[in-house]
């Protein structure tokens, strides 16, 4: 047994444990949203686009995970969160992005839309601030034109969510407030 090898194992275990904690957060949010009429729009799915490719080992781990919710009363609207663990040099620590998107073309929606809108290269966004953007004024902002009508976004540092009460107060309530 070597210290070097043990440290690699510890790092790996830590990351596994961290993902388990993210799953606990998601599960609690799923509960709160369901009781408000919002069910998962993506089943148990939390990420996409992982690499199994020998040439893309940095993507063997997810760079972000998401939960996306739908409500039959508001068929064109999705609410959701994305936890972004790493994104080049754009974030200094993992962030939790909340979003409400009103779609024009729901069939073109992607679970990554909240992520894409937050990390839009043309915009400098900061945490703890509400963003509201509507299609008529900012039509060119969107990756696919005419897909999205309105967007509301807000993001916080992931570790600022430190208890189930925080999930309720800082995430669930904020998601509900996004107009």
């Amino acid at each position: 047994m070597t210290e070097k090898g043990e440290n690699i194992l510890k790092a790996y275990r830590f990351v596994q444990g961290f993902f388990k904690e993210v799953a606990q957060l998601f599960r609690k949010l799923d509960d709160l949203m369901a009781k408000d009429g919002w069910d998962s729009a993506v089943g148990n799915l939390t990420t996409l686009d992982l690499s199994k490719d020998l040439l893309k080992p940095e993507r063997w781990l997810p760079e972000a995970s998401f939960r996306l919710y739908e409500n039959e009363m508001f068929p064109q609207i999705r609410r959701g969160i994305v936890v972004s663990y790493i994104h080049r040099e754009k974030i200094k620590e993992p962030v939790l992005i909340m979003g409400k998107i009103e779609y024009k073309k729901l069939e073109k929606a992607s679970p990554w839309d909240i992520w894409s809108l937050w990390f839009d290269e043309r915009l400098k966004r900061v945490l703890n601030k509400d963003y509201f953007e509507s299609e008529p004024e900012n039509k060119d902002m969107y990756i696919e034109k005419d897909v999205i009508a309105n967007v509301a976004l807000h993001a916080i540092n992931l570790v600022d969510v430190a208890s189930e009460e925080d999930i309720k107060n800082k995430v669930f309530h904020k998601l509900g407030e996004l107009k």
Partner: protein, 279 residues
């Protein structure tokens, strides 16, 4: 079985809900009900508009679980017409002064509800066990001859099944039955874990049993969210977190061994992990 699973000897069954059911309730069976299963039942809520607790519903029926001291566990008992609920509990007062009580438990781990529409399993089990004539379709005589009060069906799940249960209730209503909102109970695995952690048991041997159960449930991540673990606390090697600040950014062109975590080059994003601490 539980020891084999705790030691990782059974990877092929670690996500099987029947194994989880057997390990957890098979062990709970050996705890006095007042110390184990009754405490777990206290965490349940029904699906009425008021979301009443199990205890509130018992009180409304003038039932006090403190009057009961024995629980029979019936695992996977079969009815030709209505299927096979995971567990049926028959709660008794060993002195025979009180009316026997029955609860059905349907357990889920990583799967969702079986059956849709008229074949919805929650609907089938609940209606079968609530009706004396339908109970007779069960092979087990303890169930078929049961003459007490059916309290309802517990849906024990890992993830939220709110909508799924509302669909079951709609199916029950469609069949002409009513009032079942207060007979289907929501119970989550993380609540079971929390209850077991909080149990106050004096017997050393009973404590060992509970400790094993808690360990099993924690291993499966069936716990509440309590915040994120601090990476600097998680690692024993504190020197890892006081390294030189220079970040190695250049990707190695040739493999010459694995990077040393101690010099912070294993993770490209290490500077971000340590940022809060360094500040």
């Amino acid at each position: 079985m539980i020891q084999a699973e705790l030691k990782g000897k059974l990877p092929e069954v670690e996500n099987k809900e029947d194994v989880l059911t057997s390990n957890v309730f098979g062990m709970l069976k050996y705890l006095p009900p007042q110390k184990g299963i009754f405490k777990i039942l206290e965490a349940m809520k029904d699906y009425s508009e008021k979301r009443s607790s199990f205890i509130e519903n018992l009180k409304a029926q003038s039932i006090d679980l403190n009057d009961y001291d024995d629980v029979e566990y019936h695992f996977w008992e079969y009815s030709q017409e209505y299927g096979e609920p995971d567990i049926i509990l028959i709660i008794k007062d060993s002195e025979g002064h009180r009316t026997d009580l029955m609860l059905c438990i349907e357990v889920k781990f990583q799967s969702g509800k079986s059956g849709t529409g008229e074949y919805d399993q929650l609907k089938l089990y609940t209606l079968a066990l609530a009706d004396r004539e339908k109970r007779k379709t069960f092979r087990n005589t303890g169930i078929s001859n049961f003459d007490g009060i059916f309290l309802g069906t517990i849906y024990l799940t890992h993830y939220t099944q709110f909508r799924s249960v509302l669909e079951s209730l709609a199916q029950i209503q469609k069949s002409g039955a009513s009032g079942f909102e207060s007979k289907i109970y929501e119970l989550r695995w993380n609540e079971v874990t929390k209850t077991l952690v909080q149990l106050k048991i004096e017997s050393e041997y009973e404590n060992r049993l509970v400790d094993d159960l808690v360990l099993l449930l924690k291993t499966k991540n069936l716990v509440d969210f309590e915040g994120f673990t601090d990476v600097s606390v998680n690692f024993q090697h504190q020197h890892l977190f006081h390294p030189p600040l220079k970040i190695e950014v250049s990707a190695k062109a040739i493999f010459n061994g694995f990077s040393e975590l101690g010099i912070r080059s294993i993770l490209k994003f290490d500077k971000y992990i340590f940022l809060r601490r360094e500040m």
